[in-house]
């Protein structure tokens, strides 16, 4: 197949399928529709809380899938000792943040569900890097651990209003408003400085030991140290930054979370992490880690093509023999050029060369 006929999105999808297959992930196909109830119960987990709902012929309320992970969790079952590793590329339907209207979005990703261990998190983060690499261009993956911020905040105060306001400030790297929030809640300067260190953190895996040595020992710091050591020795070491301003809903996510950025795209194109909380909410005992890649955002990387729509515009008239027109077009195509046969010159068609048969031949 001529590579030029594939869009960047299609090329990326093929590359990702191949990549995930090599790691032993199985394709996961699902229906376009899902029970509406599933999303109503778990709307906080989704990006946006609106879905396109409709009644099926039997009266059952269905929705056009706004999310893939929920369907995978719902469709699986816990098998002690086993891990389900699946990948997907699916269209989902969500409200666009810019137009406030529903939009079809192509999303690819993978999920590892079961007795998730450090290896699985390492593999998922590595695959996130490989996925970004498959798109091409410069990328960075930011990694955070929700336990670190949760521990730091809960050591300071248990007041829900403080926790919500302070995590908002950390997420926005907003040290000045965090100071005001801390002062209002009587938080000491030392504790404020500690939160500021988390908010400003932005370091490569190799620098993790130095950063972690300033923090009290905890499950989170030990987990970060273990993953950072693996990543520091991996081929992705210079593409990863630990940044604890990256936060998520602790009711659903836990442990490591990460986001991928591509140079030239204004927002994150990949988002993932551990979501044991979501599994528990859906009655599953297994742990889980995964990520999604928002393929629709890749459009921003495509430069408008300055060239032509076709190489040759083949103009024919009533007087031309259709067989002769086809023969001429085939000769042009055989030389490797693209050719559009037309009765008149289309106003918006950009062509490199005009071959006018109306002046050359008469109909037999």
């Amino acid at each position: 197949m001529n590579d030029a006929v594939l869009t960047r999105e299609e090329k990326v999808v093929f590359a990702l399928r191949e990549l995930y297959r090599r790691y032993g992930y199985l394709p996961y196909r699902m229906s376009k529709f899902e029970e509406y109830e599933l999303y109503v119960r778990n709307k906080e987990f989704m990006v946006g809380d609106r879905v396109i709902a409709f009644n099926d012929t039997n009266g059952k309320m269905l929705a056009l899938k706004p999310d893939v992970t929920l369907s995978i969790i719902k469709g699986g079952e816990d098998r002690p000792g086993e891990k389900q590793k699946v990948y997907y590329d699916e269209n989902v339907y969500r409200v666009s943040k810019s137009t406030h209207r529903f939009k079809e979005i192509r999303q690819a990703g993978l999920e590892c569900i079961g007795e998730v261990d450090l290896y699985d998190v390492f593999e998922t983060v590595s695959l996130a890097c490989e996925s970004m690499n498959a798109i091409g261009g410069d990328y960075l993956l930011t990694v955070s651990h929700l336990g670190l911020l949760t521990d730091a905040l809960s050591r300071v105060s248990r007041d829900p209003a403080f926790l919500s306001a302070a995590s908002g400030c950390v997420a926005g790297k907003n040290a000045h408003d965090l100071k005001a929030v801390c002062e209002k809640s009587g938080v000491s300067d030392a504790d404020y400085d500690g939160l500021c260190r988390l908010l400003a953190a932005n370091f490569a895996p190799a620098d993790a030991p130095a950063f972690l040595s300033t923090l009290p020992d905890s499950d989170a710091t030990r987990e970060i140290a273990s993953l950072a050591a693996l990543l520091a020795a991996s081929p992705y070491a210079d593409k990863i930054r630990f940044d604890f301003s990256l936060t998520g809903d602790v009711n659903y996510y836990n442990g490591f979370i990460f986001k991928g950025f591509l140079r030239g795209i204004a927002s994150d194109v990949l988002s993932g992490g551990q979501y044991d909380g979501m599994m528990e909410k859906l009655g599953r005992k297994s742990r889980a880690v995964g990520f999604a890649l928002y393929l629709d955002l890749l459009e921003a990387l495509d430069e408008p093509e300055p060239g032509f729509d076709v190489d040759v515009l083949l103009l024919y008239g009533e007087q031309n023999d259709p067989a002769a027109v086809m023969a001429k077009a085939n000769t042009i195509r055989a030389s490797g050029k693209t050719c559009s046969a037309q009765r008149a010159i289309p106003e918006k068609l950009r062509y490199r060369e005009l071959v006018d048969l109306t002046k050359e031949a008469t109909k037999c």
Partner: protein, 209 residues
């Protein structure tokens, strides 16, 4: 090269002076011309003026790596950006104001005229007051005078306009000042350059404070 969106108007000019003092000058910005973009290759910055309420959009969408926007605009539009620094410029307050003789009898829905429906809604939700938002785009002070609304939620700088129209501040919602904001993706790929600008400007702001 870092793209920086500045808010048009007096605040923007003061903010540019701060960039200049921090070592990120762009002399062409002070020349009289119809140019829209001003660039200094030496300092690696490119400035452009935009409507103040558009600054967060330019930054969130990545057309600008950095920008300066009022806290009022940031709270109203909740852009997904980093808020790196309080520049402590353009200080004012977001407040509830009404006619001097107005008393909020909580028996009926409160009619609130404002340019900031999200900030107003959030404020009244927190205090549990039922309101009807009347979104206006300017001359907000007219609304209570002509009976269009009971109160207004708006920015108050000196309070002169309120006083001259027999209005007064009934409650303060929050203090407002200009903030340095950054696009999240730009922050990843230009962290040193952005970090340096934020640091230099912080030194100046702290000095002035």
């Amino acid at each position: 090269m870092l793209n920086i969106a500045l808010p048009k108007g007096r605040l923007g000019e003061t903010v540019y002076d701060l960039f200049e003092r921090a070592g990120f000058d762009c002399p062409s910005i002070k020349e009289k011309s119809r140019k829209l973009i001003f660039e200094n290759e030496k300092t690696g910055v490119r400035f452009f003026w935009v409507k103040p309420s558009d600054v967060p959009i330019y930054v969130e969408r990545g057309a600008a790596d950095l920008g300066v926007a009022g806290k009022d605009i940031i709270l109203e539009y909740s852009p997904d950006v980093y808020e790196l620094l309080d520049l402590k410029l353009g200080k004012c307050r977001m407040a509830v104001a009404a006619k001097k003789d107005f008393h909020d009898e909580t028996v009926k829905t409160l009619r609130v005229a404002t340019k900031f429906p999200n900030i107003a809604s959030e404020y009244y939700e927190k205090i549990g007051r039922d309101i009807d938002i009347i979104k206006l785009n300017g001359s907000i002070e007219l609304a209570p005078i002509l009976g269009l609304s009971d109160v207004i939620v708006d920015i108050v700088e000196t309070g002169t306009t309120l006083r001259e129209n027999d209005l007064e501040v009934k409650a303060e919602i929050l203090p407002i000042s200009a903030r340095l904001i950054a696009n999240k993706s730009s922050f990843r790929f230009a962290d040193r350059e952005i970090g340096l600008i934020a640091e230099k400007m912080k030194e100046l702001v702290t000095e002035h404070d």
